[in-house]
């Protein structure tokens, strides 16, 4: 990529295949760099492997059975797959915010304190401070400071999504993965979350998947265009939208300038996972340093 900052995380010939009833190659030898303290948007049509790319950065796709990976991801030049570092530590450094606003079944306070409590011993005062700082970062503090003990699920969906951001930030990640974090929100909440992301990109390396071309234009510093498991084009946002190099990119960008691309569907590759045969066990066992992280996909 053409910019002057260093890359924090990069993929090297990453290939992900789902071997279920049908075999689906979700990523086809992808090699991309993500730059520090910039917001990179991954765009592309549904089912082109956007979410797979995102989740493979912190190995979260491994909770689906039957996912096979070759190649590797490098986090500050340390391998993510071929490593002895415990998986949870990798996932702390590369945080993930799910598409659907998902509060943990605990209070607002403990949602934010969840990561810090897991990763270190903090006094109550330190935790109080972390919670306040993180909630302020996502512009949620003023709205919830009087009811920190209420269940997280009692907030509105927009507030919940900002709570999820705060929860991820509290674990002090180097990189933040955002999976279409505004797609389940109403327009006003979506705007608030976008504003929060715009603030955060000053301090964090953010990688987000989005269906909305407009959103990518508004927020992204860099753009990666993914098509059927291949990277078609990567560039900084301005060049990408104003002067696309590739024919397919040009069509895609043009096709979406008039009408906002608004498609709530999940990527095909994640949805398909009916687990009949198991072979994830071996593949995982050789890779992970802890218990296999596989969970059948039928939910």
């Amino acid at each position: 990529m053409t910019h002057d900052t260093d890359s924090v995380i990069r993929t090297d010939d990453l290939e992900v295949t789902y071997t279920g009833n049908r075999e689906i190659t979700a990523l086809n030898g992808v090699g991309v760099d993500f730059a520090e303290n910039r917001l990179t948007a991954i765009i592309g049509p549904s089912g082109c492997g956007k979410s797979t790319l995102l989740k493979s950065l912190n190995r979260l796709h491994e909770i689906q059975p039957n996912a096979e990976i070759t190649g590797d991801v490098y986090l500050e030049d340390e391998p993510v797959y071929d490593t002895d570092e415990p998986l949870p530590e990798i996932r702390r450094r590369v945080g993930y915010v799910p598409q659907k606003p998902t509060p943990l079944p605990v209070s607002i306070y403990n949602n934010v304190a969840y990561g810090p409590k897991i990763h270190g011993d903090h006094s109550r005062e330190e935790l109080d401070e972390i919670v306040e700082t993180q909630l302020r970062k996502v512009n949620l503090w003023d709205e919830v400071k009087d009811r920190l003990d209420a269940p997280g699920a009692e907030l509105s969906t927009g507030q919940i999504q900002r709570l999820c951001l705060a929860r991820s930030l509290a674990a002090e990640p180097d990189v933040l993965l955002c999976d279409e974090v505004t797609s389940a929100l109403d327009p006003i909440s979506a705007e608030q979350v976008e504003e929060t992301l715009a603030d955060l990109k000053e301090e964090y390396t953010i990688i987000m998947v989005t269906h909305s071309m407009e959103q990518a234009k508004r927020l992204a510093d860099d753009v990666i265009f993914l098509y059927l498991g291949d990277v078609v084009e990567t560039n900084d946002a301005r060049s990408f939208f104003e002067n696309p190099q590739n024919e397919r990119t040009r069509e895609f960008v043009k096709g979406h300038t008039a009408v906002e691309y608004d498609d709530g569907e999940d990527d095909v590759s994640e949805g398909d996972g009916s687990a009949d045969e198991v072979n994830g066990d071996d593949a995982d066992g050789s890779r992970s340093t802890e218990e296999t992280e596989s969970i059948p996909a039928e939910r």
Partner: protein, 315 residues
């Protein structure tokens, strides 16, 4: 049988007639179905009324409080103290739930979160099979296997003595009976959770176990709680296994290795004398009524707690 909406060949000629008949059937069937709906309430009411009415003779002769607290059960002398059976019931319920619950939850976690593919199918269908085996067969296997095990190995190993029949034996067998039942309900609740919860927790760097402990077990908490309480009710009302294995001793047990009696086994073991002493019959029916009332209170309490948990642990 009832007419259907299929277009019979002569539908044109007798349509008004046919419609009339259909409406009559609709009317009659709706009475029947309303009746069936009310049957559930009627049955419950009838059971309670009958048991109450038949318990009146004993309650009018002995005070209820006295019977509940007295330790002397001797129908021939008109002594009706339920305390030994109450203590036995509590003993058995607490012991078997203490053994069964942790194992049930762990096994449910294994099936829902660790097992995959064929292994998962095999384990969960075996659990279904275990849940469907009649309790009288567990009683028989208990006599063949558990009684000698407790009498000859377990009790001596713990420096005590047991004839094999007794509270520990019943608790072991009841734990086996109730575990698969709790497992299938807990697995259902765990599997109903959305994957996003797992991703959200793993995504901030929690281990799989931390995710299970602090997120999944809470989110599935109301369901698992119900499973445990239903298990409780099962052990509490179990009849055949205690009757076969507890040794029939109406004294307060001094140790869990003693023989004893539970409320349901009291009914089974003493109903033989029923015809000779009318008051015994009334006393045993009162025991049945007690069982019903306690189960009812349990259900009601469970509903309230479940609602609270659902609010507290919503996601």
């Amino acid at each position: 049988m009832a007419p259907t909406t299929d277009n019979g060949r002569n539908a044109e000629t007798n349509r008004p007639d046919r419609l009339g008949r259909r409406l009559v059937i609709e009317r009659l069937s709706s009475y029947w179905i309303l009746g069936a709906g009310l049957f559930a309430i009627a049955l419950f009411g009838l059971i309670v009324l009958t048991l109450v009415q038949q318990s009146i003779p004993i309650v009018s002769e002995h005070s209820l409080l006295e019977m509940l607290t007295s330790t002397n059960w001797d129908p021939a002398q008109e002594e009706f103290g339920f305390m030994p059976a109450i203590v036995g019931t509590i003993y058995v319920t607490v012991l078997s739930m203490a053994m069964g619950t942790p194992i049930a939850i762990l096994a449910a976690i294994y099936i829902a979160e660790y097992a995959e593919g064929r292994m998962k199918v095999i384990v969960s269908s075996f659990i279904d099979v275990l849940a469907a085996i009649p309790s009288v067969i567990f009683g028989l296997v208990g006599l063949i296997v558990v009684v000698p095990f407790v009498g000859d190995y377990l009790a001596p190993a713990l420096g005590t003595h047991s004839i094999g029949l007794g509270i520990v034996t019943v608790s072991l067998v009841m734990a086996i009976i109730v575990t698969p039942f709790m497992i299938s309900l807990s697995v259902e609740s765990l599997e109903a959770l959305p994957d996003e919860l797992r991703e959200a927790s793993l995504g901030v760097g929690a281990t799989k176990w931390e995710t299970i402990r602090s997120v999944l077990l809470r989110a599935a908490g109301p369901g698992i709680f119900s499973a445990i309480l239903l298990g409780f009710g099962r052990v509490f009302g179990a009849t055949i296994v205690p009757a076969m294995l507890i040794g029939g001793q109406t004294a307060i047990p001094e140790s869990p290795f003693d023989a004893g009696e539970t409320l349901p086994s009291l009914i089974v073991n003493d109903f033989g004398e029923l015809m000779s002493i009318p008051l015994t019959q009334s006393a045993l029916i009162l025991v049945g009524l007690l069982l019903l009332v306690i189960v009812w209170l349990f259900n009601f309490g469970a509903m309230l707690i479940r609602r609270r948990l659902q609010r507290r642990w919503q996601y």
